[in-house]
């Protein structure tokens, strides 16, 4: 630690390199979206927005996009409901198998997607369930529930249990307490968990491959196009938009979980 200036400069260079490593490919895609030629070659011969309108009119892409949005919205809805309910149950009650529930919920996030996908695929085949939006949603819900569950239970653990008692003590019944105290306290955790769930579902490829059947979600359409070498300029345009779209919820989610005003004051003692 003799020369802090030198070490600081080195650190700055290193950080810049890492940022470049992470962001350069994305920047390249963004540039390609404005590539007038349909061959991806360097350097670009000028800039053009002609692919934007052709992408917009691509029916296949529009269907895939619509399906993805629907799947993500429904999965997020299910995740919000089941994830927060599970969090409440695990937080508030002691019951047999409580630890197991925590484990089972987090498992799909840790498990390789290919295993979840394969398992669901054989399960649906076994049960004679035909692939549809429902099967996609079920696949996505497995890992979306965790994000909501984790966010909500973390918030509940940081919240004083006496808040609920205080509310009841002041005359609020169960429903009023939920509406005026519990819900506002966990609201930002719900939003953050929900946004994360939406983002996860929206760009999911592996599990979806096994549960979508003949339909295409947007990521599957992109994957297919690249594999077949078709519509590459349009893929670039779509990717540009998806980046822009996912950027918003991720930043928002970070903001919301950072300063929430929920501060544990003096730790309560009980006897």
């Amino acid at each position: 630690m003799s020369d802090t200036r030198a070490s600081r400069a080195a650190l700055a260079v290193w950080a810049t390199l890492i940022a470049l490593f992470l962001l350069a490919p994305i920047l390249l895609i963004v540039l390609y979206a404005f590539n007038p030629s349909n061959v991806q070659s360097w350097p670009l011969h000028g800039l053009s927005t002609k692919w934007f309108s052709s992408t917009w009119h691509n029916q296949e892409m529009r269907q895939a996009f619509g399906l993805s949005v629907r799947a993500a919205l429904i999965s997020t809805g299910i995740a919000l409901l089941l994830g927060s309910m599970a969090a409440f149950a695990v937080h508030r009650f002691r019951f047999f198998g409580r630890e197991a529930i925590s484990f089972v919920l987090v498992l799909p996030l840790a498990l390789p997607g290919i295993i979840t996908g394969m398992a669901l695929n054989s399960f649906f085949a076994f049960g004679g369930v035909s692939f549809s939006l429902t099967t996609i949603v079920i696949g996505h819900a497995t890992f979306c529930i965790v994000t909501v569950y984790n966010n909500v239970i973390a918030r509940l653990r940081r919240t004083q249990t006496s808040l609920v008692e205080a509310s009841m003590d002041l005359g609020a019944d169960g429903w009023q307490t939920f509406r005026h105290v519990t819900l506002p306290v966990i609201a930002t955790a719900l939003v953050a968990g929900g946004l994360l769930a939406f983002a996860l579902s929206f760009d999911e490829v592996i599990v979806t491959t096994f549960t979508a059947g003949a339909q295409n979600t947007l990521p599957l359409w992109i994957f297919g196009s690249i594999r077949l070498g078709q519509n590459l300029p349009q893929v670039n345009v779509v990717v540009l938009f998806v980046i822009a779209l996912t950027f918003v919820p991720v930043v928002l989610a970070q903001r919301l979980t950072r300063d929430t005003g929920v501060v544990r004051m003096t730790a309560g003692r009980r006897r």
Partner: protein, 362 residues
């Protein structure tokens, strides 16, 4: 045992049903018995303190009165009405929590108005009464702040205002001053008593603390808890001057335990006179020679630990009016002294462990 004392204050009507009556209350957590057949009566308008060490059942009693927990057996009555099976929101009591439990997403004013809001009091009425309550705890200008922006003492006041705004019959306070520093705590003790006095309709205070000084300073009556039982109920003076048993004598103040004629006797340290071995002693006083074993200078007083020739150890307090003594505590160690006290200050107490459970006579 003293039994229920008829209170001195004229506004207390002993003939009315007590504000709180707890009978045969029992509560166990698994194998741990928190309360064992508890009997307790708090009179209307009283400042009543539940005093005891950690785990003695005082907070459990408070939570059962508030309705946060259900007893295994027994009943809780408020103003003569059995509320044992009622949820907290159907009981006319409010609680000041040890950790304050202020709603973090609401402003101070919203916190205070919460009880009125959930009971459907109109917006304008609500604001006026919340402002009035904040005025009472001297936080009139902090209504728009969030709880995070307040100091510990201020949060404590907000919690108090929030609990009082509903004008409950009984206010329950669970070690509300526990997290404050000594100066602030003493200030708030006076403040709490002032507030209770100033309320137009007198509210009964049930106060939980493990701090004996706090209990003695604030209470009309004190119930001393130990291991899920009440050892004694009485005024601060009765508890201190005439402890019912060894536990009370030891927990409230310093117990000076002696064996006299086969009886257990306590005498408070400030009642013990410290004399030179050959000093003349007034007739009728008890006298015991001994050796000073320890001297602790405490500012206003000096504490002498004296080993009696007959074997027991007594503590004597001496006012530091004589600067010379206060300045040289070391020189005192090992000195022979004579202790003397008036027999009227020696209290016979029931023995400690095998003591028959002392119950209040209804």
């Amino acid at each position: 045992m003293t039994g229920t004392r008829v209170p001195a204050r004229e506004e207390r009507r002993a003939t009315l049903a007590p504000a709180v009556r707890v009978s045969g209350l029992r509560k166990a957590y698994g194998a741990v018995v928190a309360l064992e057949r508890l009997e307790l009566e708090v009179l209307a308008g009283e400042f009543f303190t539940l005093l005891g060490p950690s785990g003695s059942g005082k907070t459990t009693t408070l939570r059962l009165i508030a309705g946060f927990e259900a007893p295994d057996d027994g009943a809780v009555e408020l103003d003569g009405v059995d509320v044992t099976r009622r949820p907290p929101y159907q009981r006319d009591v409010n609680t000041v929590f040890q950790d304050y439990a202020l709603f973090p997403h609401m402003t101070v004013a919203q916190n205070v108005a919460y009880g009125l809001m959930v009971r459907g009091v109109g917006r304008r009425d609500r604001a006026a009464r919340a402002a009035q309550a904040l005025q009472m705890v001297r936080l009139g200008d902090l209504g728009e702040r969030k709880p995070v922006q307040l100091s510990g003492g201020q949060r404590q006041r907000v919690a108090l205002a929030r609990a009082l705004v509903n004008r409950p019959r009984v206010l329950l306070l669970d070690e509300p001053l526990g997290a404050l520093d000594l100066k602030l705590r003493q200030e708030m003790q006076l403040e709490l008593q002032r507030i209770q006095r100033e309320l137009s309709e007198r509210i009964t205070f049930v106060y939980v603390t493990h701090d004996q000084d706090e209990a003695l300073a604030m209470s009309d009556r004190i119930a001393v808890f130990s291991r899920g039982r009440i050892e004694q109920v009485g005024s601060p003076r009765e508890i201190y001057e005439h402890p019912a048993n060894e536990f009370v004598a030891g927990f409230v103040g310093t117990s000076n335990l002696l064996e006299e004629d086969g009886l257990r006797v306590t005498v408070r340290p400030e009642k013990v006179e410290l004399l030179a071995p050959d000093a003349p002693v007034a007739p009728g006083l008890r006298r015991e020679p001994g050796v000073v074993r320890d001297v602790v200078y405490l500012g206003s007083v000096t504490r002498y630990v004296v080993e009696l020739d007959r074997g027991e150890t007594l503590v004597a307090l001496r006012q530091n009016t004589d600067v010379a003594v206060a300045a040289a505590p070391d020189a005192e160690r090992g000195r022979r002294v004579l202790l003397a006290w008036s027999p009227e200050h020696a209290n016979t107490v029931a023995a400690g462990d095998d003591v028959e459970h002392v119950e209040e006579e209804g």
